[in-house]
């Protein structure tokens, strides 16, 4: 039993905590503003900006996969399929709205772009969420390996369908989304895409955080840890699975729509099993069922992939300088796909639960609890 006085101190500390969290939100806001201003006044070049945006997209992609693979303990291997759906739906809506493509004439004048872009993102999210049902329905009866096979199949099916529809570019891919971006810049000349990516990333993290701290969302953990107990305690396990798969694939679709507009060009093969594997690497790197772990892993993974662009040529020169490689062979970027799986193998060998396991950053560094609170 705790003494009565602790009520008072705990309420005091909770007030202090909420105040500190508010300052923290304020700091985040300032940081975001500073970032946008820095880009606007050319302190950051396009390359760094692209990496930042890629980071945001990877965070959304990995964190959404973590909902199914981490919190729910299923094994979805076809997450990029939903990203593909989101990318194409987002692009089609965007092109239909602001260029003459798909619907004859453009629906809206370009000045509307900044206000209608959320509609583009929302459409991509919702349609991808509906596609999430493809995986949710078989998951009622199957688990583990069998579900993994089904998700891979879903990934292939989605890509094959897209490649075979000529109206959306087929195997040539789809482009022209930069025009939407340019239309936004005509209204106000700020780095719009970075703004959208930052907003969506924060939104995605907030949604997942709020979901997983609510009793409603904890049903997902219950299904993972003991499905029989979940069902008997009144958790509608089928509905929980449907919800988790739909939220997960919807957010992946959001990541896809952002991706399409960052690069201005998409091709179905961008979202094949390799992309799904990247998602898996990020989730297992960060720790299954750890939101903060997956965010850190997504940031680290993006940086690593970018650094390999420089490291591999440097290593090539280095090895050639000491004649450790045959003269007619040079290390190329294909080696990226040797190094990344290698990381995965080493991780499974030495730390199979990932960097943070299913813990949050605040468990590892308790002093952070003054600033952020996870569970």
């Amino acid at each position: 039993m705790q003494p009565r006085t602790s009520d008072f101190t705990s309420s005091l500390s909770s007030i202090a905590q909420s105040a500190q969290r508010r300052t923290l939100n304020f700091v985040f806001l300032l940081a975001a503003l500073a970032l946008i201003l820095a880009v606007h006044y050319d302190f950051l070049d396009d390359y760094i900006m692209t990496i930042l945006m890629l980071m945001g997209i990877n965070i959304i992609f990995a964190a959404s996969l973590n909902l199914v693979n981490g919190y729910m303990g299923e094994f979805s291997c076809g997450h990029a399929g939903f990203m593909c759906v989101g990318a194409y739906v987002g692009s089609i809506v965007s092109l239909g709205f602001f260029t003459g493509r798909f619907f004859g004439a453009s629906f809206f004048p370009p000045e509307f772009a900044p206000f209608l872009f959320p509609v583009v993102l929302l459409a991509a999210t919702l349609v991808s969420a509906v596609f999430g049902l493809i995986v949710a329905l078989p998951s009622f009866h199957t688990r583990d390996d069998y579900l993994a096979i089904i998700t891979i199949a879903a990934n292939f099916i989605i890509i094959s369908i897209v490649v075979n529809i000529d109206a959306i570019g087929g195997s040539r891919g789809l482009q022209g989304m930069k025009r939407t971006m340019n239309a936004m810049r005509q209204v106000l000349d700020i780095p719009w895409m970075l703004v959208w990516v930052v907003i969506c990333t924060v939104l995605c993290i907030t949604v997942l955080y709020r979901l997983m701290t609510s009793t409603y969302g904890k049903g997902i953990s219950a299904v993972c840890q003991n499905e029989v107990a979940a069902e008997i305690m009144g958790v509608n396990t089928n509905r929980v699975k449907t919800m988790a798969f739909m939220v997960s694939s919807g957010l992946a679709g959001l990541a896809g729509a952002l991706y399409a507009h960052v690069y201005g060009y998409i091709n179905a093969t961008n979202f094949d099993i390799l992309k799904s594997t990247e998602g898996l690497v990020m989730v297992y790197l960060g720790g299954m069922g750890s939101l903060s772990g997956v965010i850190l892993a997504a940031i680290g993974f993006t940086l690593l992939v970018e650094m390999l662009r420089f490291i591999l040529p440097a290593m090539n020169d280095f090895l050639h300088a000491f004649s450790l490689l045959p003269a007619d062979y040079s290390l190329n970027q294909v080696w990226k796909w040797v190094i990344i799986p290698l990381i995965l193998i080493l991780l499974m060998q030495f730390r199979p639960e990932g960097f943070l396991g299913n813990k949050e950053l605040t468990h590892v560094f308790p002093r952070l609890k003054r600033w952020i609170y996870f569970k």
């Binding site: 039993m1 709020r210 953990s221 219950a222 003991n226 069902e231 305690m233 958790v235 396990t237």
Partner: protein, 255 residues
Amino acid sequence: MPLLEINGLTQRFGGLQALADFSIDIDEHDLVGLIGPNGAGKTTVFNLVSGFYRPTSGSIRFAGTPTLGLKPHRVTALGMARTFQNIRLWHDLTVLDNIRLAGYCSLGYSFLDAVLRTKRYKDAEQSIRTKSLEILEMMELGEFAQEYPKNLPYGLQRRVELARALATKPKLLLLDEPAAGLNSVDVDDLIRHIRWIYDEFRISIWMIEHQMKVVMSLCQHLMVVDFGRTIAKGTPLEIQSNPVVINAYLGDDVL
């Protein structure tokens, strides 16, 4: 009208007759025991009643509603909760979260409420939290609210499971061997807690139990099954001296 009404319940698994023509009426505020040798079909009865299996034939009515074909979570929502022979807690959620999740079927808010943190969400979470802490206090588990069940001793894990079942606000509590694996001190605690739950909430309890101490000191009626058949019904004293029961437990040679 009895709270639970089972008539002619039969379950076959392939050629095996797990349960034959099982009938029972459980009244409100009743404490009934179900005993029988290993493999007699006791847990099968519970799995049928809670909706995990569909019986080959027979009928079940709970609180006036036929529950045949209902999924387990629907049966729970009607007011039936159970514990398991082998403990089934969510080991990576805190004890408090385990209890909180028991309020899932009466949550009353949706996905959007959870994400937008509406007033409805906050009110519901607040009331669930308060009620869960209350139940933990009542079951003398208050100090373990933030522990993970996997770190608790076995006896406490059993008690957490009991508290979780209680948190669904049941009219009928099914306990599947609640004393299995407990030492004599834990068993005394368990008897005290079950008796307290029975008196305090005035609910019905139906338990499978092997330990005679538990059954004899708690149950008002007993039912004995063997090889899927009901072989005796009566008060604990009657059952204790019933030759058929002794036969089932100890074999033919004893008499």
